[in-house]
């Protein structure tokens, strides 16, 4: 039987299929998707920008949280929108820090502050602008409420056709454990690397938000003199011993507490004596090693930024405003992932200056250069204009024999 006779049976059919395939291919090649429908944007007041820093403005925590979401999600087409939003009733920085554990993939959502009894107008506007897609691993949920809210808030969300899930618990320790369990449910596994913070020392804790957003490691709380039951329970859930990183020196998290925590895993302290020094200590800290597995499916332990060279981004926050700082953690989740550093309203403390000088880029060539960059979180009343300018100088490339005299 020759080829032509065989082909007789199928000639027309195959021809049609081929033609369809070619048509489809051409359609794909010549179709120009319109990513440019976001036309009417309001013209907001100018913000202070420098060559190496950008200020993320806002006069209160609501505005700042919206501002941060606007940095991360331009929302000009489907793929630069978030999957959901995380709504945190304002008033307790610990709640915000716990909520930061929702940010990481696959959730991919910014923290927005609300009031317990209502959603402020600016946040409603921001939810509309973000138009979250819905999280496919959780029934296309579009909002996560972290903490207690009144019925009105839920009604408002329903009115906006936003499907939500609420995390609420008796106290913040339980809340942390609950969200940990939520994340573990998504991954069918608990992350073995966890951080422990003292619930009285926001300045030693808030910078962990950027690592949580970047890597998905949760922060659990201890109080001054005990490890709460909920924290113990959360630590025990790990299939094996946890890797526990303490956010604080011995006067923040006592040796006795560290000793108790050691029952649940391997305890290490992030270096740094004061809070500013610890934020840079965390930025430079890296702990690599085995986690779990066999040679066919090994998982490694990789904790800490470990940044000691140029070419990175830093989020500058003022620990005096912990609730403003925590949502900025998401800046490490997308865009220029990098650690959070603490500054004061009118000064960059000495440990932070020293660290930024270590990682400051030097000029290489016109073709191959590394740059640093910084976000300044909050209005000039939170971080002053001069601090931004000083930060800019510390972040900029060191030029050789520049004739520009300072």
């Amino acid at each position: 039987m020759n080829f032509n006779r065989r082909m007789n049976h199928v000639r027309w059919g195959l021809g049609a299929v081929t033609a369809l395939a070619v048509l489809l291919l051409l359609a794909v090649l010549f179709y120009r998707p319109d990513y440019y429908t976001a036309e009417n944007v309001t013209n907001p007041a100018p913000v202070q920008i420098t060559q190496n820093t950008t200020r993320v403005p806002g006069k209160d925590v609501f505005q700042v949280s919206a501002s941060i979401a606007q940095i991360v999600y331009p929302a000009t087409f489907a793929d630069n929108k978030p999957n959901a939003v995380i709504l945190v009733p304002q008033g307790d920085w610990r709640r915000a820090l716990v909520a930061a554990n929702v940010i990481h993939f696959p959730v991919d959502a910014p923290i927005l502050f609300i009031k317990e009894n209502e959603i402020p107008e600016i946040i409603k506007q921001e939810i509309k602008r973000l138009d979250p897609e819905g999280l496919f691993v959780d029934g296309n949920t579009k909002a996560y409420i972290v903490g207690p809210v009144e019925q009105k808030v839920k009604d408002e969300l329903r009115g906006m056709k936003i499907k939500f899930r609420q995390f609420d618990a008796a106290n913040v320790y339980e809340l942390a454990a609950l969200i940990d369990q939520f994340r573990a449910t998504i991954n069918s596994d608990h992350t073995d690397m966890v951080m422990i913070a003292n619930d009285n020392t926001p300045e030693f804790s808030i910078f962990s938000a950027s690592w949580t957003a970047h890597a998905g490691s949760p922060t659990f709380f201890v109080s001054n003199n005990e490890v709460p039951e909920a924290t113990k329970r959360a630590l025990k859930r790990r299939a094996q011993d946890a890797f526990i990183y303490l956010l604080g020196s011995e006067d923040v998290i006592s040796a006795a507490i560290a000793d108790e925590l050691a029952r649940y895993g391997h305890v290490q302290r992030i270096p740094g004596t004061d809070a500013f020094g610890m934020s840079t200590g965390f930025a430079g800290y890296a702990d690599f090693g085995p986690n779990f597995g066999y040679w066919v499916a090994k998982t490694i332990r990789m904790f800490g930024w470990g940044i000691a060279e140029a070419g990175h981004n830093f989020i500058l926050v003022n620990p005096a405003q912990p609730e403003m700082a925590v949502p900025a953690g998401i800046l490490s989740h997308r865009g220029k992932h990098g650690p959070m550093l603490l500054v004061q309203e009118n000064a960059i403390p000495e440990p932070v200056v020293r660290y930024l000088k270590i990682v400051q880029p030097t000029y290489l060539s016109s073709q191959e250069q590394l740059f640093n960059f910084g976000w300044i979180i909050g209005s000039p009343f939170v971080i002053g204009e001069q601090v931004q300018i000083q930060a800019d100088k510390l972040l900029q490339v060191k030029m050789p024999d520049s004739k520009n005299k300072e």
């Binding site: 299929v17 440019y36 907001p44 913000v47 606007q70 331009p74 691993v137 998504i186």
Partner: protein, 641 residues
């Protein structure tokens, strides 16, 4: 429907209804497996709904900063403040804002080694007072190379400043000529005298269209390379004279042939090594220069994969932008930040620029914190370059995972998946024609089952088809035909694969599409509430049910003239074993790939999701084969396919 199948209908009570249901279901499955992957294509292109008015508190994003100035005056104010606040330059250059060749030429003063502020001055619009006050604040010390002058006045229009400046105690040097070519040449001479461009690099641009010359500005602001001006078809005398001063230049002609003709380029060779850098489309022209690199002289930005370890700054402006806006803005790149200038349309990112930005976006290998990070500076308010363009640029510049290339990029995995899908469609089409024309005896469910096998297994399905029927031709319809054991096992496995795998894929997709269930549970069995476990559980149960209650009875009824209930009871356990064997491999592989192999669990709208599914199907076939072997050996199951 063939006579054959009509004749045997009727063993079962309600056999026809069931048969019809089975037919529709399998047709639906086929249609689904063909169309569902196209959702990924649709999603890659779909742009979603955008609110009519977008309210923002600022106009910056993670990978872009907007220089939100409405005109070149405010841009100049902003940039000079950024660059020179608290700096004491040796001298200040003021240049006529009416003559672009001069203003462009002066950008070299802002580059190394001089790093002087360059002020655009328009006598009718710029406030003299503002300029003079600005210069007073800097209190430049003066340069010997400028005969001690601390202010350089370039172009005739700037002369109106001379008196005012001298009254304030400044010493001025005037560079001017009625002939624009000569004036540009004077600027170049002054630069050489001041020690700029020891490398003998020289840029040449055409005098006609400023768009083709502007990309040079960013480079000049960094490296201080001087520029000379030529006409399209002619080198003017003043330019010739300037060229004569140095005979071994490295000349880079930044112009396409429409701006500087080939004859001029040829003639320029008298004065050195000539390289043309030029494209007719302005956006492509800027991209060409951004990518260009001459390793001998280290000239050009080399924004290519060769410098993938480097971070990049870009200055992006509209092609229709006032050139003064560019020259005012580009001085932001005269200091510690620098990089190429790029063009776009105001309301749509130019295709060439988009392609270039995709190609320069860094990939990350170990962690997205490793960088490097690119950053684009958007020139002007949203009326100059739209917010939508900014959003697109931000998205394209976002660091991507090397393995899966993010949401819109096509990774190697995605490309393989696409090819696999095309092959699967082709296999299905071929098999359909072959079954319809060569194996007409095969029952309708047999045919549909083979279609589904092709769609879930692609070329491997086709290979199986070949192996199962090769050489048996017309005996196939009789059912019992001699095949080696390994082929019988394959055939038996495929019997479960066709409807089973396709049902599992379909259910898994639909669950993901409508949102997977998630239950937060306590205790060691918490993972039962996980979306992945739920997806596996429901798709497995659905496939089991469909096979046990619908397709196996339908496929067997022509061979086993027993009642429906008996067929179900007799085969349930066998189907359970076979299906479970397949699921273990398929779902296990899907779990490992989606949860462990990839950085981010893929969504059903991503091609990567399908890549993991098709990969998992092959693993499912292998474990299914192993599971079916003892069933066939013990006579519990026969290969019907």
């Amino acid at each position: 429907m063939s006579k054959h199948s009509v004749r045997v209908a009727g063993h079962y009570k309600n056999g026809d209804i069931m048969k019809r249901f089975g037919l529709y279901l399998s047709l639906a499955l086929i249609l689904f497996l063909i169309l569902a992957p196209l959702v990924a294509v649709k999603e890659a292109f779909s742009t979603g709904k955008i609110p009519w008015v977008i309210e923002r508190l600022h106009l910056n994003t993670g990978n872009t900063t907007r220089l939100a100035e409405q005109d070149w005056h405010s841009m100049q104010r902003f940039v000079l403040k950024q660059r020179y606040d608290g700096v004491k330059p040796d001298a200040v250059v003021v240049v006529d804002a009416d003559a672009w060749p001069l203003a462009l030429a002066c950008q070299s003063f802002s580059g190394e080694p001089l790093n002087l502020p360059v002020i655009l001055f328009d006598p009718t619009e710029t406030s003299i007072n503002e300029v003079v006050t600005g210069i007073n604040t800097w209190s430049p010390s003066g340069l010997n190379e400028f005969d001690g002058a601390d202010v350089l006045l370039v172009g005739e229009n700037t002369l109106s400043l001379e008196n005012e400046l001298q009254q304030e105690g400044h010493s001025t040097l005037v560079l001017s000529s009625p002939d624009i070519f000569a004036a540009v040449a004077v600027v170049r001479d002054t630069l050489l005298k001041a020690g700029a461009s020891k490398s003998r690099d020289l840029l040449v641009v055409g005098d006609d269209n400023v768009k083709y010359a502007l990309p040079a500005a960013a480079w000049m602001a960094r490296r201080g390379t001087p520029v000379l001006l030529v006409e399209r078809d002619k080198i003017s005398d003043a330019t010739r004279k300037a060229l004569d001063e140095i005979t071994s230049n490295n000349i880079y002609v930044l112009a396409p042939p429409s701006q500087v003709s080939n004859s001029v380029v040829n003639e320029l060779q008298k004065w050195g090594q000539v390289t043309r850098i030029g494209e007719e489309d302005p956006a492509a022209h800027a991209v060409f220069f951004a990518r260009f690199y001459d390793a001998t002289n280290r000239f050009g930005w080399q924004a290519t994969q060769d410098t993938a370890e480097a971070a990049r700054h870009f200055l992006l402006g509209s092609t229709n932008e006032d050139w003064r806006m560019f020259l005012a803005g580009v001085q932001l790149f005269s200091g510690p930040n620098f990089g190429p200038l790029l063009y776009t349309s105001a309301d749509r990112l130019s295709a060439q620029t988009e392609k270039f930005l995709w190609s320069t976006t860094p990939d990350w290998w170990v962690t997205p914190a490793e960088g490097p990070f690119n950053h684009t500076w958007i020139l002007g308010e949203p009326s100059h370059v739209s917010y939508a363009v900014q959003g697109r640029v931000d998205f394209i510049q976002e660091l991507r995972d090397y393995l899966d290339q993010g949401d819109q990029g096509i990774s190697g995995i995605d490309a393989l998946a696409l090819v696999w899908f095309a092959l699967a469609l082709a296999c299905a089409a071929w098999t359909w024609f072959h079954l319809s024309t060569r194996l007409t005896q095969a029952g309708p469910f047999m045919k549909l089952s083979w279609m589904l096998v092709m769609l879930v297994l692609g070329p491997i399905g086709l290979w199986s088809y070949y192996v199962c029927y090769r050489g048996y031709n017309h005996q196939v319809a009789m059912g019992e035909f001699p095949r080696p054991l390994w082929v019988q096992v394959l055939s038996a496995t495929l019997g479960t694969v066709g409807f089973g795998m396709s049902t599992m894929v379909t259910v898994a997709f639909l669950l993901a599409y409508f949102g997977l269930p998630l239950f937060i549970l306590e205790g060691p069995l918490f993972w039962l509430g996980s979306p992945m476990t739920q997806s596996i559980l429901w798709s497995y149960l659905a496939a089991l049910a469909v096979n046990i209650f619908i397709f196996v009875p339908l496929m067997l009824r022509s061979k086993e003239p027993s009642a429906y209930r008996d067929t179900v009871r007799d085969n349930a356990l066998t189907v359970f074993f076979s299906m479970t064997a397949i699921s273990i491999g398929m779902m296990g592989a899907m779990w490992l790939m989606q949860m462990r192999g990839l950085t981010v669990m893929p969504e059903e709208e991503n091609l990567t999701w399908w890549a993991t599914v098709w990969g998992a199907n092959i693993i499912g076939l292998i474990t299914g084969y192993i599971g079916n072997w003892p069933l066939v050996v013990r006579g519990r199951k026969i290969g019907t396919m």
